[in-house]
């Protein structure tokens, strides 16, 4: 009965377009009132506990770093480097947009930030060169989704926070899957561009590549600071996020000189607000999770789930299906918080490492960022491209198909995720 009230209230509130965080909070409130055993002070305690966390500090800090990099002239240099790297291919600009997004993914932890930063430059130039707007937006959204797989990654930080798995390990595990996804997306976009006769932008020149690489050296220094610092044992993931923020501040103000002190408040405020949208969901969802825990709901759902099969391969497939469906309708953070406790309960029956499970979960949810009705990358890129999300669906479909193939590889071939964590003897 409790389960029914909790989930049906949540569903109704979602459908009438309540903000997700408030819908989760209100559904929890209604359930607490129904149960009647518990003081409403619990709402306050759990809201606070949800955000009172050292690992979660990395969420706003990576947002700050990403925003400072974008405004400090990093994105334009990264785009230039990507042009010199892959601009000679058929459909050069589409490949450029994916490669730029992959580079930017090494700085930002958020797919939406990634799509916005790179898309703001590349979607208009693709449209200017005769790319169909829906296609331009779809390519950029798909590229942006690598933002949460190539480290750093906010969903991985949240997964680590929920399960206690090492965020550093999760980051390391995302490197190869991120490259796989990026390369397969380039392949698909190149084939589609060739079919539509979208041409190259310039021919390859080693001299230009070297020049742009030199120009982008400070930009590329950011992923070095972030990953090198974590893997080299200099700091924790949260500390690396603070280091990245201060690095971005220094580069923008003193090296590129494209950042002025006057704009700082605005940049920080916008990044704080974007983070708060995520953090407020985490806060209200921790009231929700507390109710689930005290009523033992994840345990019971997991037990029912395990009666479906005892074959780890089939269970993994079912989990992928469940996560993909969740990703279609739910916002990433909410999906993570609602489903991770259940997954942790079934983990022993899956025969996979928790780190690999983390990458599987995040990949599924990254695919969800590309599907309406709630696909954050699609929302951002359709805004820039000036077309409706519905009109982009058939354009995004080929990319979704190749992402599903990648997902299967990530799910059933553990070395891909575990190579780096194992190599580093983490």
């Amino acid at each position: 009965m409790t389960t029914f009230i909790l989930f049906s209230t949540l569903f109704v509130l979602f459908v009438i377009n309540m903000p997700i965080a408030l819908a989760i909070g209100l559904a929890s409130l209604v359930t607490l009132l129904f149960l009647g055993d518990f003081s409403l002070m619990m709402v306050i305690q759990r809201l606070y506990a949800g955000t009172d966390s050292f690992p979660l500090m990395a969420v706003p800090l990576f947002m700050f770093a990403g925003a400072l990099m974008e405004h400090g002239g990093i994105s334009s240099r990264i785009v230039r480097l990507a042009e010199c790297l892959v601009g000679w291919m058929p459909g050069g600009l589409a490949a450029v947009s994916i490669v730029s997004a992959m580079f930017f993914a090494g700085i930002s932890g958020s797919a939406a930030a990634d799509t916005a930063a790179v898309g703001a430059i590349l979607i208009p130039s693709m449209i200017k060169r005769g790319y169909e707007p829906g296609f331009a937006g779809a390519v950029q959204a798909a590229g942006g989704s690598t933002g949460v797989i190539i480290p750093p990654s906010i969903p991985m930080i949240i997964f680590g926070f929920l399960t206690g798995a090492s965020v550093g390990k999760l980051f390391a595990a995302g490197i190869l899957p991120g490259l796989l996804i990026g390369i397969s997306l380039i392949a698909v976009s190149t084939i589609l561009s060739a079919k539509n006769k979208y041409g190259k932008i310039e021919s390859f020149s080693l001299r230009r590549l070297k020049g742009s690489l030199w120009e982008a050296k400070w930009a590329l220094g950011a992923p070095v600071v972030i990953l090198g610092g974590i893997l080299g044992g200099i700091f924790t993931a949260t500390e690396s996020a603070a280091a990245a923020t201060l690095y971005a501040l220094a580069v923008g103000l003193m090296v590129h000189r494209q950042l002025s002190l006057r704009e700082l408040p605005n940049i920080f405020v916008r990044a704080s607000i974007t983070s708060s949208v995520i953090l407020f969901i985490i806060a209200t969802a921790s009231v929700f999770s507390w109710i689930m825990a005290i009523e033992d709901i994840p345990g019971r759902i997991a037990a029912n789930f395990l009666t479906l099969s005892d074959n780890p391969g089939i269970l993994l497939m079912l989990i992928n299906i469940m996560l993909l469906i969740a990703g279609v309708f739910l916002e990433t953070t909410a999906a993570l918080i609602l489903l991770t406790p259940i997954l942790v309960n079934v983990l022993p029956s899956l025969g996979v490492d928790i780190i690999q499970l983390g990458v599987i979960v995040v990949t599924n949810l990254a695919i969800g960022m590309l599907t309406p009705p709630l696909g954050i990358c699609l929302i951002v890129s359709s805004g820039i491209a000036g077309c409706r999300m519905e009109d982009m669906v058939h354009r995004i479909l080929p990319m979704l198909l190749i992402l599903l193939v990648d997902l299967m590889i990530i799910t059933y071939w553990p070395p891909l995720t575990l190579f780096f964590p194992d190599l580093l003897n983490y």
Partner: protein
Amino acid sequence: KTTIRLGLVTIPGSAQNICAEKFKELLEARSDDYEVKIHHSASLGSETEILQQIQMNTVQMGIITDGPFDVFLPEVRVINYPFLFGSYRQVDEVLDGPVGQELLQRLEKVGFKGLAFSENGFRHLTNNKRPVHTVDDVSGLKIRVMESVLHKELWRMLGANPTPMGWPIYTELQQGTIDGQENPLSVIWTYKLSEVQKYLALTGHVYSAHIDVANLQWFEGLPGKDQDLIRQCMIEAARYQRAWNRDNEAAFLDGLKQAGMQVDEQPDLAAFRSKVANIRQLEIYQGPATRQLLQKFLEAAGQ
């Protein structure tokens, strides 16, 4: 049937869980009126938050490390007074004796019914830099400590660089973000810290207990015979758990040695003690109630 919700933060197999499961088994075997529901692995929140939930009667009982009680009743910290107890026999004498019972009694002021003490045990130092025999070997080590003024000051006095950090710390130890940590053998063993720590010194610098508590109002609202039954079951569970911990320590130590840890079983503790002799002067021990109880504890422990 009345459901008793019992909260703890550790994973199955840990010291707290042994005590909780024994309590459930005893109570459910002896009475048909109660069902004990154990919420473990911090699914309800941190230890401080579970204590608040017990105060709200959202959760009825808890098996909680002594540290977090500090916030509610400062004098609980006397249990953690460095080098207070010389042996487990002495621990039992003091905690099961009148001063231990007085401490449990005092918890009633803040809404808890103190039922019994179970334990984590004596805390020992591990690190990755060098063997620790004398106190000088501690100098400059980056030691992870719990977020507690006592532990910070203790390690500062011993010459280390105490670094407060949440748990777990496996990755940080392996990466070398910190050099060492301090915990009872059961924790070092359960969390496989031998994989990332080379040296262990049996410093036993602080004894760490759990206090097994219930919501006072809820408890006093129960029929008298049920109160006695619950109390009796918890006392037996705590005794069982303490015996379990002590029986297993030798095995944990052997296991850690076999995993390659270099163990100093008899570090020069006199030097450690003299370095922290002034810890009584710390502000945290200056409250009148704390000072008075500390005096009683020191006397009971023969110091």
